[in-house]
């Protein structure tokens, strides 16, 4: 498995899109910090970028990589290697290389700004951690969609649709439902709905860490009230991990049955 991870990682790391992605974050981090001079403001702006853009990039890269490496995957599958090793290895390789672009692209300007001597280091760490988690989750969801759709256009469409639903439309639908059923007790519903969306979870994790109730919204407030900051962070972290393990299990399961 390590060999497959290693080569997928280097293959993607050398593509020019990885550099574009890395440079974009480098530029964004530098502009926000050095022109704005406000560390916690920068963290909040980055959070918004983090929960919209990171899933989008991971989705697009995941689908594209899967379809582009189709023939090579067949060659790997004809070797004495188990199917789940091949797919898990490729997945970890590309998610790892995307996560590295993100961590370095944001980490370098923050380190240059003197972050390690400031109190905001933990806020920043949570930001990076959720970014990495979202990268791993959305690459995996994209891999799952691509694996079960031979037709590239359809696969690409479904993957983008999923991103649109989770990162953009979900909040709107959620809010509509809350407004419509406001006479009923909605805490449980709000909690479940939040847990079901990794983007919301990431947002709450960051906001709980920053402790900005104004930005937290209804779900954040419920979350905090329900679990307190410590337990809430722990729970949302654990659920984010579940968002990796369950789709990974599904990927391995569907890879076992598929015809190539």
């Amino acid at each position: 498995m390590l060999k497959i991870i290693k080569y997928s990682f280097f293959d993607l790391l050398r593509s020019k899109w990885s550099y574009v992605y890395f440079l974009f974050y480098l530029l964004l981090g530098s502009v926000l910090l050095f022109l704005n001079n406000d560390l916690s403001g920068a963290v909040i702006t980055l959070m918004n970028v983090n929960i919209i853009l990171v899933p989008l990039i991971a989705t697009v890269f995941g689908v594209m990589y899967y379809y582009n490496s189709g023939e090579f995957t067949i060659l790997l599958l004809a070797q004495p290697v188990r199917r789940r090793t091949v797919f898990t290895g490729q997945y970890l390789g590309i998610a790892g290389s995307l996560a590295l672009s993100l961590v370095l692209g944001l980490g370098i300007p923050f380190a240059a700004y003197g972050l390690f001597r400031s109190a905001a280091i933990w806020d920043f760490a949570v930001l990076l951690l959720t970014g990495v988690a979202l990268t791993f989750i959305f690459t995996l969801l994209a891999f799952n969609i691509a694996l079960s759709n031979e037709n590239r256009i359809k696969g690409f469409g479904y993957a983008i649709l999923l991103w649109l639903l989770l990162a953009i439309a979900y909040d709107g639908i959620f809010l509509l439902l809350l407004a419509h059923f406001q006479e009923y007790p909605l805490e449980r519903f709000a909690l479940t709905a939040t847990v079901l969306n990794p983007v919301d979870l990431a947002r709450i994790l960051i906001l709980l860490k920053l402790d900005i109730s104004a930005l937290m919204g209804y779900t954040g407030a419920v979350f905090k009230q329900f679990f307190g900051t410590g337990a809430g962070s722990l729970l949302s972290g654990l659920v984010l991990l579940l968002w990796i393990f369950v789709p990974l299990w599904w990927l391995q399961k569907s890879a076992r049955k598929k015809d190539f």
Binding site: Y7, E71, I74, L75, Q79, P80, V81
Partner: protein
Amino acid sequence: MVDIRNISKSFGRNQVLKDLSLNITQEGVTAILGPNGSGKTTLLKCILGLTIPDRGNITVHGRDIRKDVKYREDLDYLPQIADFPANLKVRELIKMIGELRHRTTRENELIRFFELQPFLDKKLGTLSGGTRQKVNLVLAFMFNSPLVILDEPSSGLDPVSLLRLKQWIHEEKEQGKVILLTSHIMSLVEEIAENIVFLLDGKIYFSGTIARLRSETEEQNLEHAIAALLSGKCLVR
């Protein structure tokens, strides 16, 4: 070596293989022939474990292929389309595939034979189709396995490289290997194969030596003999 028993495979409503049985033990080259869509590639992919039959059993070297992937340690495969990660160098790809099995490889001999030295440090995305096919050949032959499966081995090769390929296959045969191949180029098949398996609509219409095919169809030319099979002059098993 390869024992296929009563396998069937459908993709949706399209039944590609129909209760097909085949036993390949003969040393040398067995060519699997048939028109487009007759199930050749599906049959090879079933042996490789890439496509899972709906019914039936396949054993390779006496091992049930569904139980364990280890049987592929002794099986080499050349895919029809040579498509590799664009950003890896030729040298890195060969090393990577070589590391997937625990045994010595003979890539240097093959690199020299197919004259790939000038391309070793080039990225795979920059190579021409023919050069990629040569890399494909190196990857397929480097493990020196007793069973070799080649899907359209001549595609994209220039005349000189094609000659080399034939020479290489000839040497492999002398080592007593079992080679399974598909090709649409009858002259190549006539030159290197001893046995023919002819597939049509997912069934085997002929399985035997080229000499037997000639005598049974009363055609000396392989192309004509195949045409005779296709036109339904005879159905021999």
